[in-house]
Point group: C2
Chain length 622, copies 2
């Protein structure tokens, strides 16, 4: 389907916005009136910029507070409308958004409102303009599409139709069934916005917290499906008021905006198929999501000195160096199902990454059911791919760029890099650590929505509820993205404050970076004893924490003493699950390691213990 976006959804000056919109592959735009008003060029200039960029202007918006005003204002309002119709001709757009009146003095009389709407439709007809009426969720009288449609239907004027907006409909939890019964020629335009569910004033919610489809908590496919069933074939358009996007890099926002529409198309197609309704032919249909089985390996960019140091940490953690790359300065460490890679190959991707970010996670690799399929899907979604240089007999591993420019590899059973690319030896040590339970990334706060859309659209992952957690110097928020069956789990951490641990690691990394890797074990006491024997430095937990545990939970004193002796943290969930976990000290103000054991299906991440961990880390590192 055709894709459109309102200029208000992006930051920047109007020409900059239009260039980014065209570059992201949109077919056209809604011109938000203020963007035009504040622009130094004429409407004809804007028309010509759009033509040069291959963008159609689908809509001019908004026209406000028109219908049901005290009678003396009607003539003025019609005059105002005509002025805008003239401007629209210069712009080369034939569709205007008229939003329902929000003024206190709006007269709540359907007959009068219909008279007014008829009057503007007649004026619009003279100018060959189509006026789309949109019910705002906070409209003074008309605040649902159903009310708006009852008026538009009754008026039945060819120049008056409906503009349907997902936010205004889903925010008031309106009944969606009538959407399917609006004749397609009466649907003048469709605007799409997602949003996180929030208990707040709907106007504030709408003005500041809308986001792209897939980034919020609305089920937008339930909104779009009946509109497509009604036969709508016009553009799908994004109208997003969002404080972060207003300040975010224009081109990147436009790119993810476009991807969000593809994602919504796919969701809607699936939803229609699930309900045995023939899907709209033109709906985006990428390769299905591959199955994500595990984290295949994590690759660290290092220099000589960091390699030596991390090699030492890995050994203390019980890893064995089991492979040396045949042609590159790359080593492989192994324990249980865990593979870690240290890369210090000159002039490689890793070393370019190191030059910017220092010792850091430069690539994460995922074991998938079908790597080619995963890559195809990513490409179809417009994701950038990466192809490194290959040595003789080396295997090609499909890779894409994550939002921060690090690599994400897809490996399937066909790939056995240990055999092809490495001189390998078997691991002959006992494995205390078994697998990567999760790994957490610290990202800039304004990129959270981009990252979640990346994992949802390309990987088919789901997100868990965002948590807010106390750092001694501010707040952090954490949102987990994970594969549906939890085989891969990645907490994404952000902080808006300047002096939190995450903010400190941002500074060290100059951008986003690994926060920690959590390894699972099958006997945490034995494992921790072994790690202590290896002199791995564990984060010291204050005694007061254990006093509180004894007040909070039914734990016997002997057990508590054992926890304390091992610096182990304890958490329970509401379903009777429990977790024991322990942290290493921090590697160079950057990342650290966690060792954990889950009991009785505990499915959380020990977030209750995050504040004590953050405070203890600060005490240790100040």
């Amino acid at each position: 389907m055709k894709h459109s976006i309102a200029t208000v959804s992006l930051s920047g000056m109007l020409p900059e916005k239009l260039r980014a919109i065209a570059a992201a592959g949109f077919d056209g735009v809604e011109i938000f009136e203020n963007d035009l008003l504040y622009y130094e060029g004429s409407p004809a200039d804007v028309k010509s910029i759009c033509q040069d960029l291959g963008l159609e202007i689908f809509l001019f918006q908004p026209f406000r507070d028109f219908e049901g005003m005290p009678r003396e204002r009607l003539t003025k309002n019609l005059h105002r409308a005509e002025k805008k119709f003239e401007l629209m001709h210069e712009l080369g757009v034939d569709r205007m958004l008229l939003c329902s009146n929000v003024q206190n003095n709006c007269i709540k009389d359907d007959t009068m409102i219909m008279d007014d709407l008829y009057a503007i439709a007649e004026k619009a007809a003279l100018h060959n303009i189509k006026v789309g009426y949109e019910a705002l969720a906070w409209g003074a009288h008309v605040n649902s599409y159903r009310h708006a449609w009852s008026l538009v239907k009754e008026i039945d004027h060819p120049n008056l139709g409906m503009i349907l907006d997902s936010f205004h409909t889903l925010s008031i939890k309106d009944d969606l069934t009538e959407l399917a019964y609006i004749p397609k020629e009466k649907i003048f335009f469709v605007q799409l916005a997602d949003a996180p569910l929030m208990k707040m004033d709907v106007l504030e919610w709408s003005r500041h917290f809308r986001c792209f489809p897939g980034q919020g908590q609305f089920n937008l496919q339930y909104f779009l499906a009946p509109i497509l069933v009604a036969g709508y074939e016009g553009p799908l358009s994004l109208e997003i008021f969002n404080d972060e996007f207003r300040a975010a890099p224009t081109e990147q926002t436009a790119c993810y905006a476009r991807r969000s529409l593809l994602y919504l198309e796919e969701l809607t197609r699936n939803h229609l198929q699930y309900n045995y309704i023939t899907a709209h032919q033109s709906l985006f249909s990428p390769a299905p999501v591959a199955q994500y089985e595990s984290v295949a390996f994590l690759e660290f960019a290092v220099d000589e000195s960091a390699r030596t140091e991390l090699n030492h940490w890995f050994e203390q953690l019980g890893f064995q160096k089991t492979g040396q790359h045949k042609s590159k300065d790359v080593s492989l460490y192994q324990q249980g199902d865990i593979n870690l890679v240290l890369n210090s190959e000159p002039d490689s991707f890793a070393q370019h990454y190191y030059a910017i970010h220092g010792p850091s996670l430069c690539a994460s690799a995922f074991k998938v059911s079908n790597a080619e399929q995963a890559l195809t899907r990513a490409k179809q979604y417009g994701c950038h791919t990466y192809e490194g240089r290959l040595g003789p007999k080396e295997q090609f591993i499909p890779a894409i760029l994550a939002p921060d420019g690090s690599l994400q590899y897809f490996l399937d059973n066909a790939a056995d890099i240990h055999q092809t690319d490495f001189f390998s030896k078997p691991n002959d040590q006992v494995a205390y650590l078994n697998s990567i339970d999760h790994f957490a990334i610290g990202i800039p706060p304004e990129t959270m929505d981009i990252w979640t859309l990346h994992f949802k659209s390309i990987f088919g992952f789901v997100t868990e509820h965002e948590l807010t957690l106390a750092d001694p110097y501010g707040l952090m928020k954490s949102k987990v993205v994970r594969s549906i069956d939890s085989t891969v789990r990645i907490p994404l951490n952000i902080s808006e404050n300047k002096h939190t641990s995450i903010a400190r690691s941002f500074t060290a990394y100059r951008g986003s970076g690994l926060q920690h890797v959590a390894f699972s074990t099958k006997d945490i006491f034995e494992t921790v004893a072994k790690l202590q024997e290896n002199n791995l430095k564990l984060l010291k937990i204050p005694e007061n924490y254990y006093e509180d545990l004894s007040a909070k939970f039914d734990l016997d004193e002997q057990f508590l003493n054992k926890l304390q002796a091992h610096n182990l943290l304890y958490d329970e969930d509401e379903k009777g699950g429990a977790m024991l976990h322990v942290y290493s000290e921090i590697f160079g103000n950057r990342f650290f390691f966690e060792i954990l054991q889950r009991f009785n299906g505990y499915s959380q991440y020990g977030a209750n213990n995050t504040p004590v961990r953050l405070t203890a880390q600060r005490a240790a590192n100040n």
Copy 2:
């Protein structure tokens, strides 16, 4: 009265918080449990730190989810309470905050809840602990102080009393009259928090948006007065959950926290006196607010080159250099009632300010009814004063430090620095500009509450409603502080985003700084013609803006053409007032000048035109 603050109100590690609290002059603290749990020392260590700092521990908090739980939990909960009582003994505190149960499975039965409260009171008696019961606004069953009091009164146990919290009471708009009838021995503690009025979930509101008394929109004196009438003589304690404070500099936050309690005491004293109730003897009673008559002068820190350049701008604006300081490198510019000062005196406050901030406003001076009184009041509020070095026969001008370290002078009729300190000549030019209408300061976003409290407490100013305005690269917010009769008006501007105009000027200033000075004129067309004749560069306003004006307002075409020819902006308010205003270009990416004329009592600041101004400025400066 005694002053206290909960440790959760500040950022940092526990000892750091306690040191800041003592330094700010508090008498004691509430220990927030998590601060203790995460601390590496023992409760006895905390007790001894407090003793060394001269701080009393008034309260241990919170104890949660105790009463009305399913019966099998009661024993566990009492066990938990006893553990905490033991810990409290180590801490040396005899009062615990028990907040009303918020769990879904809380049994909504007053009789059962009273049994449970009686049980904990009995246990507390054994440990010589007093349990204060506090109704949380989102309590599952008990959510008002009146409900809590009906239970506590009925139980009538000496170890069970009330904790009254302004947020939980005022957020639900509860009736305050019963507060005066709680016997003083039953009021175990009083917690105070202000908040901006927000339409949102009360729990979220409470957890993230509380602020210090005087910084929000609650009338805290209406809450505190009846409690004092009841005879309460215990500490006034701040319990503030605020995302900004959690990340703000600990010492500065503690300082303003203390000042907010003094301010609340003054407000409460006035409120009681107004109602013919004898005020609590110990309530803070500073010198009354002086009357603020005008901005006496604005002083710019400059070097040679900025002095030359600004001298030129001032001349273009129609100012005349009318004075040269007798002993310092300081010149005075004058027009109408406006005085501007350029200071490049070596080794002066201005030059130290210049060294950090570059060309900037280093001092603002206010004409007051009584300068000594204004200074006394500021001192009583703990404000830092400043005394510069004086030359022979020079006058001493009382000055205090603003929150950003710039100076604020108080001048009254006794002061005539023009005569004493300057070689002056009379201004022989026609005055086109008459007075300083307002001057706006850009400040770091986390300091907005500090600035407003500064102006409210020291100056007795009021604040206007905060506005959110669109910059092409993000949002800015603006809140006006002004004298009651609007003789002095200062918009405070903030932006959370990195690339807005305000953020850009922050970078230039390395901190807060002047955004613009608005001069009023009595004939704006004549004035602008004169300024254009003087070659003052005005900000060019796009033509589209005037097209829109003609659609929006009843303005004839000739008038509109005249506006456009002068780059004048137009605004109307709802009461029929109007304003015409024009902007200069920006001086070195820092500040600019506005010339305005108000009609028919227009009392706003043309904020409707701020977005077009910001966009035009960006277009001119990119």
